[in-house]
Symmetry: C2
Subunit: 208 residues, 2 copies
DNA sequence: TCTCTACGGTCATCA
DNA sequence: TCTCTACGGTCATCA
């Protein structure tokens, strides 16, 4: 809710902020702007804060009631997130930065210091096909050392007897990309590629 | 999974039992039967157990994996149900049978013996309009006494300064309806209508 | 802080 | 143990 929104509020954000459905929002007028992620993609729809507020007040009774509803949804999201399935045997794992290895534990068979950083994002419906690989999608910590996500992926691959591959996306068309940042990322990836290569792991750099 | 399913398994049930999506099930052949709830409504689609099993095995790997997936979903449902919003000030309430009134408590302002039987089914997005009424949808306990759901509705109406109305549906076209049962229900409703009428509450009998 | 679709899950409504 | 739709919420994908 900052000053920078004077052009209007993008649809996705507007729906969440004002607890509105697609149907609700359809009745409002929208101005279109170029999609910042892809100029050729579907246009960004901008809605007027004033109209959104008026609609939300009509729907919920008052801005206070709207705020209550937002709280309710927020809490619901949080508590549902807590009930997510715990570690299970075949699962996609995702970890955060820097930690050391310790004793193996249950679940993914990860040492505690790793496993407490691992969160199962999705339990895949399909069992992994024979010959499948474990893919570590490296978005942060672009390095082959001090990288617990990499350690977790390595373990998982070993457990399955699968190949480990590492892929790093380099986003050129995200809003804040610029030459300086891209250069920094590419230099980091070059070093990581050398380091991983020495350990027999391919690092694939993906420029979408 | 009983013997009575030799005609085939209805779509809704099939999807749940075999963890399949509409898309999945679309690829299968279905035989149509008259909709037992309404002969003029959309037909009931019956799928062959054998085909469903084959598809589920293809999707999940084995019947054991399917069973695991079903367990997962079941548990998820249960734990999400537990995180449902608690009693709040304007809410639709629903209660079960026989109890006595006691001291008022927080939330809906119900006595403990009532409030522990009340479950908030849905927190309405809209604030109740002025002049709205509290509707007690009487599906069980067709009587004006020993009826805690009625007591809860009465309290809620008093708290809001709203009218209380009671409505009872008499379902004629549900699969197990027959003359004897309908007669029993109607007799009960006649008595309840007299009892509630004496207390100034309308009981509306609805035959859909 | 981009949009669209598909997916579970839930629910009210309808025939 | 009926079917369809709408609704949140989540997510991967695409442009």
């Amino acid at each position: 809710m900052s000053k920078s929104r004077k052009d209007g509020i993008p649809k996705t954000y507007a729906k969440i902020q004002f607890c509105l459905s697609d149907r609700d929002v359809e009745s409002l007028t929208a101005t279109e702007k170029k999609n910042p992620y892809s100029p050729k993609g579907p246009a960004m729809k901008l809605y007027k804060r004033e109209e959104l507020e008026r609609l939300a007040v009509r729907k919920f009774g008052s801005l206070e009631k709207l705020e209550e509803e937002r709280q309710r949804r927020q809490e619901r999201r949080n508590s549902v997130a807590k009930t997510r399935p715990e570690l299970d045997s075949f699962s996609v794992a995702k970890a955060a930065s820097h930690a050391e290895a310790g004793d193996p534990d249950a679940g993914l068979g990860l040492p505690p210091l790793l496993s407490e950083r691992v969160r199962v994002v999705r339990s895949p419906a399909r069992e992994p096909a024979p010959g499948s690989l474990v893919l570590y999608w490296m978005k942060a910590a672009l390095r082959g050392h001090h990288n617990p996500a990499l350690d977790a992926a390595r373990r998982e691959a070993a457990k399955r007897g699968a190949e480990l591959a590492v892929a790093a996306p380099v986003l050129l068309d995200c809003p804040h990309a610029n030459a300086r940042r891209v250069k920094f990322v590419l230099e980091g990836l070059r070093d990581a590629q050398r380091e991983l290569g020495a350990a027999g792991v391919d690092l694939l750099v993906h420029v979408p």
